[in-house]
């Protein structure tokens, strides 16, 4: 039965300000589980250690290593696999966005270290819908940044009849992007802009039109904001070759919600969906077409001559850290409550209820890896 929960901080980049909030800690404490938070927790969001430790004697602040030594360790973004041996001890259950299907090395290392794990991105209902996700924040925060950029860097917006947004991709992220675009990327901006600014028309196109160059050329020429919310089936080819960016008006803004990486060393190499745009993160996500370090994150050989102001961020939800963590905390709580209540992964049953089944499917023991091939263990489904 796990009796302690560790909440270490994330250190991927300076702009990463997210930590789980005191509200989640308060709920965990109510179950009798002790909590160890890493020193400095919450500081990126203006909180203090005392906001956590003041909740109850059952919560204490400690150094990073101690936070990682608890029975269950909850951290939103997983450390890199190279860091696992130094952080994890045998028997620990890591609860994090581990991305089992695409990260076989992580599976192997966790098994080698005799750890257990629940991958937050694999937590899904019986219908396959993810239970811990923030596609809404991806859509809304990305569009908020796009309209910020449009406002700052496009002239005389108010004199236009209409603002045209083209959304490529009609899945969950695309859906939220549409909603956000119709509100200029934020409810607050909508309240301010709607009486005086041109209204927004959103056009969604799926796979059947994203390769129709005649259509796209005409549509791009009238587009103020181009949003990429696609899921490509072939990551080795760009969806929008760099040349096509030239079809957009000079003031247009590209909003990248896909944030695929450039992997030039991959076999075959993978490229970004919109060719020749930089890769952003929580330190910097707006890139002006004329800025000198445009190519800093673009590998040699990738065409990038055609440029438009672009907004792109590896972790769009992290732009509004507190809101993001409130959302994740609410989604995660019932699952965490069940996991802790069952005494950890060993207590979960595939024949349990909705939450238990979801946890079981997302646990390390439900995944099998052979070389680079990762599969869910079918017998457990």
């Amino acid at each position: 039965m796990p009796v302690t929960l560790g909440l270490p901080r994330m250190r991927q980049e300076a702009g990463e300000r997210r930590d789980f909030l005191p509200d989640l800690v308060r709920r965990v404490l109510a179950t009798g589980v002790e909590v160890v938070v890493e020193h400095g927790i919450g500081s990126g969001m203006g909180l203090t250690e005392a906001d956590y430790t003041g909740l109850s004697p059952g919560v204490r602040a400690a150094d990073r290593a101690t936070a990682w030594k608890q029975d269950v360790v909850l951290v939103l973004r997983s450390p890199e696999v190279e860091e696992y041996p130094a952080l994890l001890r045998p028997g620990t259950t890591l609860v994090s966005m581990i991305h089992f299907p695409t990260r076989p090395r992580r599976i192997r290392k966790l098994k080698e270290l005799a750890c257990e794990a629940i991958s937050l991105d694999s937590l899904a209902g019986d219908d396959g819908q993810r239970l811990v996700e923030n596609t809404r924040a991806v859509g809304w925060n990305g569009l908020e940044a796009a309209f910020d950029a449009l406002q700052k860097h496009s002239r005389r917006l108010e004199s236009r009849d209409i603002l045209r947004v083209t959304v490529m991709g009609a899945g969950q992220v695309g859906k939220h992007a549409v909603e956000a675009a119709l509100k200029y990327g934020s409810v607050a901006r909508y309240a301010e802009w709607s009486p005086r600014m041109p209204p927004v028309e959103v056009c969604t196109v799926g796979r059947s039109l994203t390769s129709d160059t005649v259509y796209l050329r005409e549509r791009f020429a009238r587009t103020d904001v181009l949003v990429d919310a696609t899921q490509r089936s072939d990551a080795t080819r760009p969806l929008v070759p760099n040349e096509w960016i030239g079809w957009l008006p000079p003031h247009a803004v590209i909003c990248d919600l896909v944030v695929d990486p450039y992997v030039p060393t991959g076999k075959p190499p993978t490229v970004r969906s919109i060719e020749g745009i930089p890769k952003g993160d929580l330190d910097k996500w707006i890139f002006l077409a004329g800025e000198p370090d445009w190519t800093r994150t673009i590998p040699d050989g990738v065409p990038s001559a055609q440029r438009r102001t672009s907004v792109t961020c590896y972790s769009w939800p992290g732009i509004h850290p507190e809101e993001c963590m409130r959302h994740y905390g609410r989604q995660l709580w019932p699952l965490l409550e069940r996991l802790l209540g069952r005494g950890g992964v060993d207590g979960l049953s595939v024949r349990g209820d909705f939450l238990e089944r979801a946890l079981h499917r997302a646990s390390l023991r439900s995944w099998f890896v052979d070389g680079d091939r990762v599969e869910r263990v079918q017998a457990l489904d």
């Binding site: 109510a30 019986d126 219908d127 209409i162 009609a170 899945g171 969950q172 695309g174 859906k175 939220h176 549409v178 909603e179 119709l182 509100k183 709607s194 209204p199 927004v200 028309e201 959103v202 056009c203 969604t204 196109v205 799926g206 796979r207 059947s208 039109l209 129709d212 259509y215 549509r219 959302h327 609410r330 989604q331 709580w333 019932p334 409550e337 069940r338 209820d353 909705f354 939450l355």
Partner: protein, 380 residues
Amino acid sequence: MSEKNPPPRRIGLPRLHKEAGERRDFLPSLVEFMGRVGAEEIVIEKGYGSGMEVPEAEYLAASPRARIGTFQECVGQDLVITIRCPSEEALSAIRPGTTLVSMLHFPTRPRRVARLRELNVRGVSLDEVKDELGQRLVQNMQAVGWNGVRAAFDVLRKQYRRFEEPGRRPLRVTLMGSGAVGGYAAHAAVRYGNPALRQELADKGVRGVEVTLVDYELTSDENYMLTLLEQTDLLIDATQRPDPSRVIIRNEWVAALPQHAVVLDLSVDPYDFSVTPPEVKGIEGLPEGNLDKYVFQPDDPAWDAVDPRVGHVHRRTSLSCYSWPGLEPRKCMEVYSKQIEPVLRVILERGLDGIDPAKGPYYDRAVARADLARWRVGRP
């Protein structure tokens, strides 16, 4: 209801009798589940499952506690479960003290709420089972969007002669509403509501579908809308209007649509002339459809039956169905059966009076939000 009632043990599964085309019933898997979590007797109405070609024997085999009975016997149990709210007549047949689990739509059906209270029937409204973020836990919005759009493209394919021509322009869908249903409708529309058809047309070199989404700022702009409608092949209403007495598309505007255009009503708001001002559909003049009939050609007599206070002179082939998920009954009930299991577990294991709405587990809290005894008007 101040006295604490024990969990119900005797369950009734009456059939849905709204229309002949209503073929949905819960599946044997749910009967098996209820038998496992505490039901002592499960009375299933004769003919249950027949609309989906599920034989009675499968229900009986699912649990030794199951038996076949009459409608009256079903509604005479402690816990009555039905996906759609029973008719007024059927409601009256339910005995006082019974728990009724159904889509009861408390916020928009004040008369139903009053009636249930009058009958001392404790409703648990499946559309009100929500998590702390307000997300519905028993819903099938995906089927609303996909089934409606698929049906609309089937009709468009038949009546637009250029539908499969490689030389035609991309099809244009105008979608009003960007909420959950609108999201699924857009997802479906870029695929013609049918991924296999999309692939078939792509293989022939036929150009795809563009979906234009517009909000209030543009739908209230007559010039813009008339221009847009002139180029629209499929017009979809997936809105949730704050004021259902106001139309979005006036009947005169329907005349701007090409003759081959199709109109799809996913909002399925009813006409209600018993309130002031009267409540009308978002697209003025559309007939009200159901599972028996949901496609209305312009010469269909259903148009003439629309109340004369509503303009309905201008017509295009229209689709409207009170229950779009019901078009694919088995798939629909597979979704609902899975979603309803944790709700029933709470009711059968702890009973509605045994749950803690504030500190209880996740599903206890969600069920408490849907319990008529705890529900108040205006509560989120």
